[in-house]
């Protein structure tokens, strides 16, 4: 149990996908201008990553390994993620219009989010058992959502402050991201 808690804390705070591994930078910069959109993207990413990790893990150990097709993992996972995003969007469109209103625009963007593929591949390469896979697949997108939300609150404040012209926009945002990355690296001592 202690090992699972350590894994959760590690993937949320210490080995954060954005600030430590520099993955998912496109949505990090593109969808962090408003708190509401950052929250919507965060929730959508958590949902898709958890479902994608469960499906790819099952597919790898129940289909690819018995058939000796382990070399197909990359192409399989890419197609599974793309299909899952389509399926998720279709179900949300049909059964939850309110959720679609808040997430719908961001759902197709998740197909190009490399964090999803990273989680699916890490689950296999690290040979996690089911409980470790589940904790890692929940913790990583939670870390993504947390950082995305914190960064969106910083960017909203940046819009109200006077920034030198040369640093306005993405320049000052990247400087803030670098400072956040250094701050998060300080959490490495807690585990």
């Amino acid at each position: 149990m202690g090992e699972l808690i350590t894994l959760l804390v590690t993937c949320v705070l210490i080995n954060n996908v954005i600030l430590n591994q520099f993955l998912g930078m496109c949505p990090f910069m593109g969808v962090s201008k408003k708190q509401s959109s950052a929250l919507g993207m965060g929730v959508a990413v958590v949902f898709v990553i958890v479902v994608a990790a469960l499906v790819t893990y099952g597919l790898y150990y129940l289909v690819l390994v018995p058939l000796g097709l382990e070399f197909m993992e990359l192409i399989t996972f890419i197609l599974v993620i793309a299909s899952l995003v389509q399926l998720t969007e279709m179900f949300i469109k049909k059964y939850s219009p309110s959720l679609y209103k808040s997430l719908g625009v961001y759902l197709p963007l998740i197909t190009t989010n490399c964090v999803v593929l990273n989680v699916c591949l890490i689950n296999i390469t690290n040979a996690y058992d089911f409980s470790h896979m589940l904790v890692y697949s929940v913790g990583t997108p939670l870390g993504f959502a947390l950082v995305l939300y914190i960064f969106s609150t910083i960017r909203e404040r940046l819009d109200l402050s006077s920034v030198p012209k040369a640093f306005q926009g993405n320049g000052i945002a990247l400087i803030c991201a670098a400072i956040m990355s250094m701050a998060f690296s300080g959490l490495a001592g807690i585990v």
Binding site: C26, L67, L69, F71, L79, V80, M90, K93, P97, P108
Partner: protein, 61 residues
């Protein structure tokens, strides 16, 4: 040899599943009030993304 045939069949099945889901998703009507949803995104360097304003500029031209 059988392994490679299985690989091709498995790949084809996955592609067919994706195409099927894509078409089904496209045919599913949008909920009321969601016809003109817009992302709060001014675009990054991912030009493959449908929300990138570069696509709207092309349509305008």
């Amino acid at each position: 040899m059988i392994k490679y045939i299985l690989a091709v069949l498995f790949f084809a099945a996955l592609v067919l599943i994706y195409i099927g889901l894509y078409l089904m998703n496209k045919k599913t009507p949008l909920p009321e009030g969601c016809e003109n949803l817009k992302a709060d995104c001014e675009g990054c360097h991912d030009y493959a993304c449908l929300h990138n304003p570069a696509h709207k500029e092309k349509e305008g031209n």
